[in-house]
Subunit: 420 residues, 2 copies
């Protein structure tokens, strides 16, 4: 058939008051786009029957699938089902199996099943319930006039389960999922700014299938490769797009999709059998925190010293007081002594250090806010990198950018170890 | 006049593909709610003239203010202005001052002003531009038939500036901002779980003006106090609501609105003139990172030791090897020795330590994943807290919860110092 047109209606006064952001609509749109189903309109209405009816009336004139999220719960404000039934002139009837599920759900929790709660087992006549494995309110799947009306709860995890386990299968069963699907893969890069990166791949940003689009994140740039084609073919398009980027960008690419920088480093460190210790000044512990996000990081991360005060740099890391006096805490000399010191005192293969000025105070003409020195020591010697982030990223941004640069310094060193 | 009805139309195909979440609509809804302007409908459409026209047609039948976000840029896909002009049968005309602004904007950047870029200075006849201080595309403010059509860019910071500096003032000038406004204040609590907290304030959750609603966040519970009234009165309602909560909950309340736990502790530490050092095992540096988020934290935060490996606990913190052998790294004895050790070695007034099992591996029957010991040492002695988070929060959640408990342990100690 022609492209199926879906319309999403989000129901909830809290959305219209701006108390929550509608991430449900985003998720549903993603899943439908992947399935090749077109979404041309979304609507958002409050918990008001006349307005839910009006939104449905508009949608039902132009869509093959109208998908509601929200308004299925037990309170009197929840009236999505009732509104649609009223608009179509269909009575609400009790669904036996849903009522038994509800009774069991409440019995297990030693809670009373009030009349309001019982409303959750009522359905428009002719509609089928979607079982709710995670909560009390069932969803609704309603085949009507050759089209579909679907309703899922507003609770994100309940909504997600029903979309994947009931709604997409129903579309597939009807042959409504397009032969062509849209899929994306994210190629994550680190160490090259957005402008310079785009210059390197200017021609690739103009391709049509797959398309490649830059997404700027804090401290790194991602490239989204999007392909459109038959399910069996689209992955090959993504492979090709990824290969083009890797050939062009080399080690600037550190991972795919949900891989984090600390995750990529964890894989490299675990494979190398080497250990690392960190000496952090301006990052305050952020690098250690990021490395220990990774399960199993105790195999390669020994620990570190957060050397915020100068005395801690000298007492705990052995930075000579003369170095601090002559060059200051934010200097290549101090960074180097911190990296060497933490490596030696903790007995690690790699010592990684950061010292800088995160601001907003503490900057001088000579050493402005945003100036950061990073250093990596191993048995062979030491590397030092100077970064100047300026004031624009703010304190939190400077800390994060410094942690990115430090982790990337370690990553590059680990990559060089590998036989090329 | 009666309550003004606003409708928001978000324009952008990327929204309907689920590539971005519509946080603009959330923000605009918040600002309008604060101003007492009702939003009954939101619509989202892609970059398609027929569908933008249809969305506008529906909105214009039922709203006093139709506010578009998105579709004002220089590409051919950007056609919000053209669609509305076409729907109303009004020609597009060049706006002289906007064109001069655009020419200057491009000249400053040494960029060529292409014909597409020039479209940004075109307006529906009769509409006024909203200057864009942060980008190239002006917004639109159009008084028509006693109502208002407004358009702002999709770029969030440009959108926010125009809403605050042009659209809300225009509503105020018309007397469209309600006598009654809705305002909220968030009372932030730590250390009592959602259920127990609600039990303590069950009666307060039923008040009607102000209303009080719990919001569960990771590791803490916030209480949103919302009042409705005249601008001069509503703050008194919020004050009263806050007072009720403080009287009931006492020191469980740590701050208001955007105050973070580390920020509240920073204020207490700075006032006390005391210093703190941290010894972190399972949190990996997170506590140091959080404390150093606060500008000026170098006045009270000396640093710390991330003691992930057992050797680091003994070598860098002086935890006796016998303690580690007899009780294990995750034990009250080790936590105490870590807190005492870091206090002494870094010369701090307070030594704060955490040791635990973040998982997913490493748990035993006796010491399961989620078990965490916290300790705080000062000149007078030492406190130890045991927490059992279970596996459910996951590695990241256990780390965060442990950092919350540690910071709260320090906060309680600082509060006790104050004359009551």
């Amino acid at each position: 058939m022609d492209m199926v047109r879906a319309e999403i209606i989000s129901v909830g006064t809290e959305l219209l008051l701006g108390q929550i952001t509608d991430t449900n609509a985003t998720h549903i749109c993603q899943r439908l786009a992947e399935a090749g189903v077109a979404v041309f309109y979304r609507q958002t209405v409050g918990d008001n029957q006349a307005r839910v009816q009006e939104a449905f009336r508009n949608a039902w004139q132009r869509a093959d699938l109208v998908l509601f999220t929200g308004g299925l719960g037990p309170t009197e404000d929840d009236l999505t089902k009732e509104s649609v039934a009223a608009e179509l002139g269909v009575p609400m009837v009790e669904h036996q199996a849903s009522m038994r599920h509800l009774e069991a759900y409440f019995a297990r929790r030693n809670r009373t099943l009030t009349p309001n709660q019982r409303r959750q087992a009522m359905l428009p006549e002719g509609a089928d319930p979607i079982p709710n494995a995670l909560g009390s309110a069932p969803g609704v799947l309603w085949n009507r006039d050759g089209r579909i009306i679907a309703m899922v709860p507003g609770v994100p995890r309940e909504m997600r389960g029903m979309v994947d386990e009931a709604i997409l299968p129903a579309l597939r069963a009807r042959g409504w999922i397009a032969d062509e699907v849209i899929r994306s893969r994210v190629v994550r890069t680190i160490g090259v700014g957005e402008g310079a990166l785009e210059d390197q791949i200017k021609d690739l940003l103009k391709t049509s299938n797959p398309t490649i689009a830059p997404l700027v994140h804090q401290g790194e740039v991602h490239l989204r490769v999007t392909g459109r084609g038959k399910p069996g073919e689209v992955d090959r398009l993504l492979d090709a797009g990824e290969r083009l980027l890797r050939d062009r960008l080399g080690d600037v690419v550190y991972g795919l999709d949900t891989t984090t920088l600390e995750g990529a480093i964890g894989v490299l460190l675990a494979a190398s059998g080497k250990t690392v210790a960190v000496a952090e000044s301006c990052t305050g512990g952020l690098i250690g925190h990021r490395l220990t996000r990774i399960a199993g990081s105790s195999a390669y991360f020994l620990g570190g010293v957060v050397a915020y005060a100068n005395d801690v740099k000298s007492d705990m890391l052995g930075v000579p007081k003369e170095t601090l006096a002559a060059h200051g805490a934010v200097s290549s000399e101090t960074a180097e002594a911190m990296a060497r010191g933490v490596r030696e005192r903790l007995g690690a293969d790699y010592g990684l250090s950061v010292t800088g000025i995160a601001g907003p105070g503490g900057g001088t003409d000579e050493k402005p806010v945003g100036l950061v020195y990073l250093s990596l020591a191993n048995g062979g010697g030491v590397r030092i990198v100077r970064q100047d982030y300026g004031t624009e990223p703010g304190r939190e941004g400077i800390k994060y950018n410094a942690s990115q640069a430090a982790l990337n310094l370690l990553r590059r060193a680990l990559l060089e170890r590998k036989p090329s």
